[in-house]
């Protein structure tokens, strides 16, 4: 799909930057650029070279409430002050993304040591992209998955959180389910087994979930899945 010939690659990247391609191709290229440095460079080349054309659009004042809405959407959900056992212990969950793997490992140990009926096979700790403290933990339960909030998080207004899985080598996100308002999503059986190194993501979607089969709102939490061998 992505040409290796430099001239063809630049034409395709140029068409992408101009925005003339069909929506499906635009989406495909946006995804491919994440793992194709030559494509990503060619896109940056055209964004830079054609940028002068954007001056043909005259500046205008956006509606006054626009910033307030942006600020609301990027606000980090507040953490609860209560501490009930390890699951809700703030100190335990606080930490940077660099610590996420360590947190996942210690969580795995904790769960492996705790008497639990289901065989544990993976664990993922989900953070906001700004690497705030962990907000969600997903663990394997039987052939399914249990996602639970470990911070006090709520989707804004009339919206829902939706959980997605992205394979280790990228590709289109697969919908796993809409998170109920109580912050706990239990999936009895996953549509297909999750692979080690897959990413779980939570986006903000309309109340009943994304109508498009892919995330339509911002991704607000992300975490890598680590398999655990008891």
């Amino acid at each position: 799909m992505i040409p290796s010939d430099s001239e063809e690659l630049h034409v395709l990247a140029g068409e992408y930057v101009l925005g003339v391609l069909e929506p499906e191709v635009m989406n495909e290229l946006a995804l491919a650029a994440g793992s194709n440095p030559a494509l990503s460079l060619a896109i940056a080349y055209w964004e830079e070279r054609l940028h002068g054309l954007s001056r043909l659009a005259l500046p205008a004042d956006p509606p006054p409430q626009t910033w307030a809405r942006i600020a609301e959407r990027i606000a980090v959900p507040a953490m609860p002050a209560r501490r009930i056992g390890l699951w809700n212990c703030l100190g335990f969950w606080r930490g940077s993304a660099a610590l996420a793997t360590a947190v996942a490992a210690s969580l795995a140990l904790y769960i492996a040591l705790a008497p639990r009926p289901a065989a544990l096979r993976f664990v993922a700790v989900l953070h906001s992209p700004q690497q705030e403290p962990a907000a969600w933990i997903a663990t394997a339960v039987g052939n399914g998955l249990l996602l639970r909030a470990v911070a006090s998080v709520a989707a804004p207004g009339d919206r829902s959180f939706e959980l997605w899985a992205i394979g280790p080598s990228g590709g289109a996100p697969k919908a796993l389910g809409v998170v109920p308002a109580n912050g706990q999503l239990e999936i009895g059986a996953l549509p297909e087994a999750l692979e080690d190194g897959a990413t779980l993501a939570i986006s903000i979607e309309p109340k009943a979930g994304s109508p498009a089969g892919r995330p339509t709102g911002p991704v607000v939490f992300l975490g890598r899945l680590n398999t655990v061998r008891p």
């Binding site: 001239e7 630049h10 034409v11 140029g14 068409e15 930057v17 101009l18 925005g19 003339v20 391609l21 069909e22 929506p23 635009m26 946006a30 940056a44 080349y45 055209w46 964004e47 830079e48 070279r49 054609l50 940028h51 002068g52 054309l53 954007s54 001056r55 043909l56 659009a57 005259l58 500046p59 205008a60 004042d61 956006p62 509606p63 626009t66 910033w67 809405r69 942006i70 600020a71 959407r73 990027i74 992209p129 700004q130 690497q131 705030e132 911002p218 991704v219």
Partner: protein, 188 residues
């Protein structure tokens, strides 16, 4: 903290600070760039509410992606413009442009500024202006309509009343010419 953010002079520094989690830096970026970027979105969307929604989505995305921006990739202004253009084009294509042209109050864009005339007196970088000027007229018009108004191949064909194949070929040849003319130095 806030006074420190306010003293950051470049867009690049503000994006780096936003990538580090500073909402004040994002707010400052918004103060500096929102008029320009909203203008870009409005020219593509044609409707203020659609443009404002796209600007909102773009700033949420800028916040999420700020960490991945590096100055080696290109200037901050071009990066910001790219995000706003893609969000707006995406939004417009979801809603459909028919709605726009069905509204008599909005016209069919015949009143929108003449793109060729604008190019003649624009502030485009020298190399881009010179190379655009050397393009064959159809190629120049197609490239400008796509970038500035966010029209797709088929929308340009409909607007100009020409076959889709001609538009695809003009844009392709236009891009090839621009690449050989501008080369690697946008300031040349």
């Amino acid at each position: 903290m806030d006074s420190k953010i306010a003293s950051l002079s470049s867009l690049e520094d503000l994006i780096a600070a936003a990538g580090g989690g500073s909402t004040s830096a994002l707010k400052r970026l918004y103060e500096l760039e929102s008029r320009r970027l909203y203008g870009v979105a409005l020219r593509i969307a044609g409707r203020p509410e659609l443009a404002a929604d796209a600007l909102q989505d773009a700033f949420v995305q800028i916040w999420q992606r700020a960490r991945s921006y590096s100055a080696e990739r290109g200037t901050a202004a071009a990066w910001l413009t790219g995000i706003v253009r893609y969000r707006t084009i995406d939004a417009v294509r979801k809603v459909g442009r028919e709605i726009l042209s069905d509204d008599p109050a909005l016209g069919d864009r015949a009143d929108s500024p003449d793109i060729e005339e604008q190019m003649d007196r624009s502030l485009m970088q020298d190399a881009l202006r010179r190379c655009m000027g050397e393009l064959e007229q159809n190629q120049r018009r197609c490239v400008a309509l796509a970038f500035v108004e966010g029209l797709s191949h088929s929308e340009i064909a409909a607007r100009l009343g020409v076959p889709l194949g001609s538009v695809k070929s003009w844009i392709r040849r236009g891009l090839l010419w621009l690449r050989s003319c501008i080369g690697n130095d946008p300031q040349r």
